[in-house]
């Protein structure tokens, strides 16, 4: 087997982005497994796809649109029903410190 497709640092980075807490042993294990998967998928590169349009969707349909009409929402009570933590009107999450959203 040649150069690993994914090294340990990349696994750490991906796990961080996905908010997964992995042990050092798992990181090593996943680096091996993910590399094997990528190597397998790389076989596709043997095909000449230069004349193939990228596929945006696997279904041969488009323009599934709806009219701008109001539908019943769940309402506050039902919306919060599955929340691990909540108050009267809001989901509660551990205090958010400095790290703004990505919009």
């Amino acid at each position: 087997m040649g150069q690993k497709k994914i090294d340990i640092e990349q696994v750490r980075q991906v796990a961080k982005l996905a908010r997964l807490a992995l042990s050092d042993a798992e990181i090593v294990q996943f680096a091996v497994q993910l590399s094997a998967i990528l190597e397998y998928v790389e076989k596709l590169n043997q095909l000449d796809t230069s004349k193939v349009e990228p596929l945006a969707h696997c279904l041969p349909i488009n323009n599934c649109l709806r009219t701008d009409e109001i539908k019943q929402s769940l309402g506050t009570e039902k919306t919060l029903a599955n929340a691990p933590q909540k108050d009267e009107q809001f989901f509660l999450v551990p205090k958010i410190l400095e790290e703004p959203g990505g919009l």
Partner: protein, 490 residues
């Protein structure tokens, strides 16, 4: 001594909330300040099995805006997932458009204070959904309200063609006018309908070398004032930093800043994640959008005359000042009402004054559009013509305008009933002038003297005539008669 010259370079990202009734991918109602988490459904929550479906109106609004910004509209476009974890984003990805935006390579024209127009290129226009709101209250928790999650947003990205803080503000204002004219957004700043993210750096010429300072992006500005001030601040800060450290732009040294509204300074936020960290990929839940010619033609019928075009037409066709034309075209309803009134007859400048000075004031008090005051353009044109013909004074026209909002009567009738018609009949007025002259020999003497006293005396005689006619005499006619009598030397 070193020789330093620099140019401010700004590219702007703008998020505009579209004025649809429902969200981008579900039928939850968009309503400002609703009970928290009351407008939420399984699609907003990203529950397993929930399936998003595109809002046709949002897609059409996006295309309409792209067209008005002179963009190329994509014939084929799709949806991508932008992955990141944050509590206001329950699916852990935002549905957006990555490599195939709905509009690309356009431009917007902005009017500059010197009367010139500047063209700013538009890089792309794409649709995406908004996130929810995090409320950072006291205690160990943050509160999350998902009512806003899924609201359709139009992201508009300009090329870095903007060269001052003032230009950034003018562009934002022009864009607000455009989306309001098109009816695609209320663009209400108070409700967060427009949010701005300028990317700022400087091109500095020093001792015949050119340097580029590191780019900074200022996040989430939601007022024109904050936008302008933050860009002005950032330009000065970057200049000082360059002079101090000589730091220049390098791959990876772009910074993300926030704006502190109270201290009026930019503050450092996190380092910008590289684009691939968002792991964009096509959303398998949503099928592509194909914009065929027929649909595009249908959408094009909804285009209207754009504000700047209309403003220029009011100047060239009706002879208004650029300022007046700008005031009128700040609001589409006022602009069209004015335009229709001029077309119904009457002097444009006179109508402009009636609309901007009286109409907008009353509309503002009543919290409605000037076109909703119950006065037709035809009736307002009649009122303007009465002022022109000297039948009523400009002051009386304001009173009549106010009455017209409460009554169906024609301005002529209102003027009669309020006894506001001016006497312009020369024969009748001449008699009164003669009486006044006969009764005030001293004032006549003074008026004829031609020295300092004459102006005052003239005013006194005018006043006497107005008093005798209970203010209904046409002052221009009276002045004419009076001056001819005094000059003749009686």
């Amino acid at each position: 001594m070193t020789n330093i010259d620099y140019k401010v370079i700004v590219g702007l990202e703008i998020h505009v909330q579209l004025a649809t009734r429902t969200k981008m991918f579900c039928g939850c109602e968009l309503i400002f300040a609703a009970e928290p988490n009351s407008r939420v459904c399984p699609v907003c929550l990203g529950l397993p099995g929930a399936l998003p479906v595109m809002n046709k109106q949002a897609v059409e609004f996006a295309i309409l805006t792209a067209l008005s910004l002179n963009c190329k509209v994509a014939e084929f476009t799709k949806w991508d997932r932008k992955s990141y974890y944050y509590p206001d984003l329950p699916k852990n990805y935002q549905i957006s458009q990555y490599d195939l935006p709905i509009g690309s390579t356009g431009f917007i024209e902005i009017p500059l204070p010197d009367g010139k127009v500047k063209k700013i290129r538009i890089r792309r226009v794409h649709l995406e959904e908004d996130a929810g709101k995090n409320i950072h209250s006291e205690g160990n928790f943050s509160q999350v309200d998902l009512n806003r999650a899924g609201t359709p947003l139009l992201e508009i990205v300009t090329e870095p063609d903007i060269n001052s803080a003032e230009e950034v503000r003018l562009l934002a204002i022009e864009l607000q006018r455009i989306v309001r004219f098109l009816g695609v957004s209320e663009a209400d700043m108070q409700k967060g309908h427009m949010r701005f993210e300028p990317n700022v750096n400087l091109h500095i010429k020093k001792d015949n070398n050119e340097y580029k300072t590191p780019i900074t992006e200022i996040k989430n500005l939601n007022s024109f004032k904050a936008l302008e001030k933050s860009v002005a601040f950032e330009a000065q800060r970057q200049l000082a930093e360059f002079l101090d450290s000589g730091k220049v732009m390098q791959s990876g040294n772009k910074k993300t800043l926030g704006w502190d509204d109270i201290r009026e300074v930019t503050v450092l936020q996190r380092e910008k994640e590289e684009a691939h960290d968002y792991r964009y990929f096509p959303d398998p839940d949503l099928v592509p959008v194909v914009v065929n010619k027929k649909w595009l033609v249908e959408i094009k019928t909804k285009l209207c005359e754009l504000p700047l075009t209309m403003q220029n037409r009011f100047v060239s066709e009706y002879g208004l000042s650029d300022y007046d034309a700008g005031v009128l075209t700040a609001d589409k309803a006022a602009a069209e009402f004015f335009d229709n009134t001029v077309k119904a007859g009457g002097d444009a400048k006179r109508i402009c004054n009636l609309v901007t000075q009286t109409g907008l004031k009353i509309a503002n008090e009543k919290n409605c559009k000037v076109s909703q005051l119950g006065i037709s353009p035809q009736k307002l044109a009649e009122l303007a013509k009465m002022v022109e013909a000297g039948q009523i004074s400009a002051t009386a026209s304001v009173t009549i305008f106010e009455k017209m909002t409460q009554s169906e009567s024609a301005p002529q009738q209102i003027a009669e009933s309020l006894n506001l018609l001016q006497k312009s009949d020369e024969g009748e007025l001449e008699k009164i002038v003669d009486e006044v002259i006969a009764a005030n020999p001293q004032a006549v003497e003074d008026a004829k003297s031609g020295d300092k006293k004459s102006k005052k005396a003239n005013g006194f005689l005018m006043g006497q005539v107005m008093q005798k006619t209970k203010g209904t005499a046409n002052p221009q006619v009276v002045a004419k008669i009076l001056s001819s009598k005094l000059n003749k030397g009686i």
